[in-house]
Every structure is written in C-alpha cells, then in structure tokens.
C-alpha cells in the first residue's frame, strides 16, 4: 500500500507492507536511524517519537496508522547547529553512557516539558517510567530534564 507520512515536517511517500512498523519506516525510508529499535515489545522506550506532539512507542504502531499525522524524531531537536535544551541538559549533567536509550529519553523529556515546563522530580520519573536505561540509574537523566526546564525558564525571562 502507498503511504505518505510527515516526518520532521517533510512528506515521506513510499509503498510499504501494511505490517511495517513505524520504527522501521522511519529508520529505513528517510534513513533517520536516530530512533532506536530496542525491545520490540513496547517496554524499553528507545523507539519513542512524537505523534502530533505526544510521545508514542514506534515499535507498536503500524506506519500505515500514522498517515495524516505529524511524526517528530530525535533528529528534529537540533536546529541549525543549536541543540535543544533537553540535549544540552543531557550533555551538561552526563545523562548518558552507552546512549542507546537516549533518543527515546530525549523525545519523552521534550514532550514532558512542552506540556509541563516546571515538572517535579517525581513527575519527571513518572514521565520516563516507560523508558529503560541500563547505565545511568536514572539520576542524571532526571537532573538533565530539570536542567532543561530551568534553562528554558531562564531563557523565557531573558536572563
């Protein structure tokens, strides 16, 4: 079947099998391999992308189901060499080691801050509870999201 899916603002059209999962569509067709393909069972969160602004696990959505919707991947965070504040936060607080979970963590964090610009540590932990990191023990990831929230609050005030 032919599908046309908006990925990071660009229309991607291709003939696919109906059974193709969104994670594979994203990685194969536009070649955006930033979205990681992890557990394949909607447990690990490495494949999280934004669908119409909400985080979703792309291993458990058919590509065909996303036609007509806006998909945003980790590649959209950096704009013209300027990192997104959540990326800066991960950099500043050493919130990754192997980096495999990072794309999903970043997109989950971005969606959280878009909805709740000043989350508590508990709200951050709840938001990332669908994403597994085997390296950091999560502490630095929570710090990174806090860092990004404070950076964005300061930027908004023009400090």
């Amino acid at each position: 079947m032919d599908v046309s899916i908006t990925v990071n603002g660009e229309q991607v059209s291709r003939e696919i099998e109906p059974r193709q999962l969104l994670v594979h569509f994203i990685r194969e067709t536009p070649g955006l391999t930033g979205t990681h393909w992890g557990c394949d069972t909607s447990n690990c969160g490495a494949c999280v992308v934004l669908m119409d602004g909400a985080p979703v696990k792309s291993c458990t959505i058919l590509a065909a189901m996303t036609e007509g919707h806006e998909i945003r991947t980790v590649e959209s965070l950096e704009v013209d060499g300027q990192l997104d504040p959540v990326q800066m936060g991960f950099h500043e607080t050493h919130a990754l080691q192997c980096g495999f979970c990072t794309p999903g963590m970043l997109m989950t964090a971005r969606a959280l801050l878009d909805e709740n610009p000043d989350p508590t540590d508990l709200e951050i932990r709840t938001a990332i509870s669908g994403a597994i990191c085997r390296c950091t023990g999560y502490k630095n990831i929570v710090s990174a999201v806090r860092w990004a929230a404070e950076y964005e609050a300061a930027a908004k005030q023009g400090v």
Partner: protein
Amino acid sequence: MQTPASFEYERATSVEGAIASLQRLGSEARIIAGGHSLLPMMKLRLANPEHLIDINDLTELSYIREEGDEVLIGALTRHVDLLKSELLFRHAPLFRDAEKVIADPVVRNRGTIGGSLCQADAAEDLSAVCSAVKAKVVIRGAGGERVVGMDEFHVGPYVTAVGDGELLTEVRIPLRQGGGSAHEKVERRAGDWAIAAASAAVWLDAGRIADSGIALSAVGLTTIQLSRAEELLFGKAPSDELYTQAGEIASADCSPSADGRGPIDYKRHLAGVLTKRALLRATARAIHQEV
C-alpha cells in the same frame, strides 16, 4: 526482528463502515485502535488476523460525559484521558487508581478502553474496574445495538460477548448515591502487568452495605467477579473484620497459576490483601473520609 504476519489494512471512516467491513470479513478481521495489546500478540503469532480495521479516525467514539444517571465513555477513549478526567474521578475514582498503574505514560497515550476490554486479558485492569462498578457495554452490529452487563461480557480467556461483525462502541458507568470505589495493584516494576489486582465498589445506605462489586485481575483465566464476597457484604456494616473475611474469600475463589511473577500461594495472599485494601479505601471514599 518481530513483525506481524501479513494482513490487509483498512482505515474506517465511519462506525457504520467499520461494522460493514467486519460483517464482510467475518472472523478473519480485527479492529485495531491503540494496538498496544493486539500488535504484540500479532508479533508473537498469538493473534493472526488477515484484516485489520483501523478505527483511530473515528473520533466520535472518544468522549467521557455524564448523561442522565450514567457516565458514558466512548470505546476509543485513551488511557491518558481516563486518567485525567475529573468527571470520571468524581464518580468512579477507581479509574484513576488503575490508570496511574496501567502500563506507562507513553503506552497510555495510545491504548483505549474499548481495546482493553475487548482484548480481555485476565491480567488487564480495566475489566476488573468495569466489573466492580457494574458497568454495561454497548455492542453495535449490523442489526443495531445491544447492551451487555460486565457479568456477561467475559466468555472465556481473550473471548468476550463481542461477536464477529460487531464493534464495542461505549462503556456505561451507572451513577448511584452513597458509592465509593478503589483499585489496588501490585506489580514487579513500573509498567508491568499485575501480579494481582483488585477492584472494589461499595454503595452504602444508612451505614450498611446496600450493594458491592469486587473483581480480581491476573489471578485466573479471566477477570474474576467475587460474587460470594459480594453476598457476604450485603446488608452488613463495613468493618475491618468483615473485609478481612471478604479477602479470605478472594484468596479462596481465585485460581492463579505460578509463573515468573510469583507462586500460587503468594498470588492468593495478594488477592486477599488487595481485596481488603480496595474495600477499605472504597468505603472511606463512600463516606468522604478520603478522596
């Protein structure tokens, strides 16, 4: 790589169209909404539909509203909306108890109440929640609608009263005076299925239990309605001792199997403890001692 076996895909543009497709394709067709139960089963070849009918565009099936003496929930209403609904929390707070611990927030952005009920996994929370509050579901087919109580909804493991050619369109929660409800669950880690879970609702009249609903998840082949415990409570004043007895019935009347989540005696123990806790909390809510 886990990928489902091949199937034909179509996107429904109306409820009538979805039902017409279901009628035409018969038992080889399945509805897909959130897909977070069905797609994993298809990857494992535990479900092999030849046709998927995607109802995600049928936004007319996504709502939570009060109408007459019921709260009506559209089948396509997602977990995230059930969690956030103040209307639902006010009338049936056990929904929020359950939704806080169903999967994780990202999965809750996709999964729907209709999908959860129709999947009818014994470990799924909303079937017990709906059983406890004595919900009814609306099932639509080519010949019109029928309304089925939760006590008749579960036919067997993964099998419900929704037949070939039919679509579950709505869940109806009755609004009754003097009620309180709660859902209690123990899981190994955030997002996992329950080791055991209990839903309870009580309706008090002049300090006595005029009616109750108790149901268990994950400790049998289907959701278990604890009718023996409900009969025990009828007409009695709520007490710690009474609810301990209800918990003992829960431990006796469930039929868990041993697996990676725990042995049978542990699950029976949990069923009893969680039943008592859910009843105590439901009662506290009924008399407004806890929100």
